[in-house]
Amino acid sequence: MTNLFGKLGAAALYQFDQIGRMGVFLVLVVVNIFKPPYKLAPILKQIYIIGSKSLFVIVFTGAFTGMVLALQGYHTLSKVGVEGILGSFVSLGIIRELGPVLAALMVTGRAGSAICAEIGIMRISEQIDALECMAIDPHKFVIAPKFVAGIISMPLLTAIYDVVGIFCGYLVGVKMLGGNEGSFWSSMYSNVGMEDIQMGLLKPLCFGLLIIWISSAKGFYVHMTKGGGFGAEGVSNVTTSAVVLSSVSILVFNYLVTSFLL
């Protein structure tokens, strides 16, 4: 019995330890983002890796989300005879919820996992230690550019996702299913307000931070992760857990933000 309590206590302590570590990590990175010297080249490189390289998958998922939303929406709305508001149905759904969440999930899968694995490998092959011994702060040199790039890229990717999604929704709803073109756009103009756009940009900003934070912290502390295995196996386990944790946090965080701002 005491053994059970002991184990529970140890597990709880380990969790707190991990949360604390990630918190400190975040603070250190944010401090380092604002510390000079500011170098543009590493940030641009990371924007290319996190942002540009995610473009295809973002356009692709955006297109299919818009299409299926229009298809499903048209059939549901026409049952009650209000297919005229299809435009606002599609655009609100995408701008407020689906765009930010799905774009973030795609970026987690593409860039979050890559960041976690990259940093994890740097850790286990002592490259992070080597940086520290050169008096180069890895938080500044390795992590900070990724954070800035994530925070810049995510809203832009989401905006692209939204535009492509709405346009493909229009193609399916109007051009394919024969809905009214004028009412599609006018219902969108009259129903999408500034606060929807704000929410649609605030969310990806937070998600961008969340994804890069979780992925890089998990990789950075791969050597301290309990029961995660060593070497390549350790990195693979920690990458999996980074993707899972990022995805879950995105969904939970999305719900929280929506419920606060609705």
Partner: protein, 256 residues
Amino acid sequence: MSAVIELIDVRKSYGSQEVLKGVNLSIDEGKTTVIVGGSGQGKSQIIKHSLGLISPDSGQVKVFGQDINNISKKDLRKIRMEFGVLFQNSALFDSMTVYDNVALPLRERTKFPESKIKGIVEERLELMDVVGSNDKYPAQISGGMKKRVGLARALVLDPKIIFFDEPTTGLDVAKSNEIYRAFFRTQAQLKYTAVIVSHDVPKIFKLADYVALLYNGVMQSCITPEEFQLSDDPAVKEFVEKTMGSLYSSEVEEII
């Protein structure tokens, strides 16, 4: 002569394995101290403790008189500015080219223009006899080359203290002799303090001012190479006999 690095009763265990059992060691300024000892005795652990990468279970590690486990990150960084480190596995940045690896400390720590950096990097790579591989990645060069690139990187900022973990392991004899000569030259010039872990006994003794033997989790001695080879200390004696004695025990074996 004052000690720049002091390990005072440093202990470290991993699980039930006690690796360091109260290590005492002081490294004198401007001298070369060579740490020898069998594989797995904890030599790399001593280097990592001195760098502040691992903190001891008990005991102190002092660098420039400061206990590096009890100072701010900023002070530790200041101390590390004086370090040049070669890890046992070289620890090159594997997504950067050889050139960028060596240039990195200069780019991050100095304000030199790129043209000056280029000059320094190429000079250092040449000193280590790595030419024509500037655009290759660490995965594309040989193990011995990695070592030499690691050495070039460690020396590029003219550090005050160098830590080399097995600098010549994996190099051919000619190359390792060349590296030793380069050490000798640069140390005469720059007067740095050196801590070198090496298995290259007795050759490394030529370079050493002091030899320290790590055996059974404690430092058995830290004495000059001449004293080391003549020592009566049983552990040292055994080490000297095993590493420097004749390779073959009988004439018959020798003929074969």
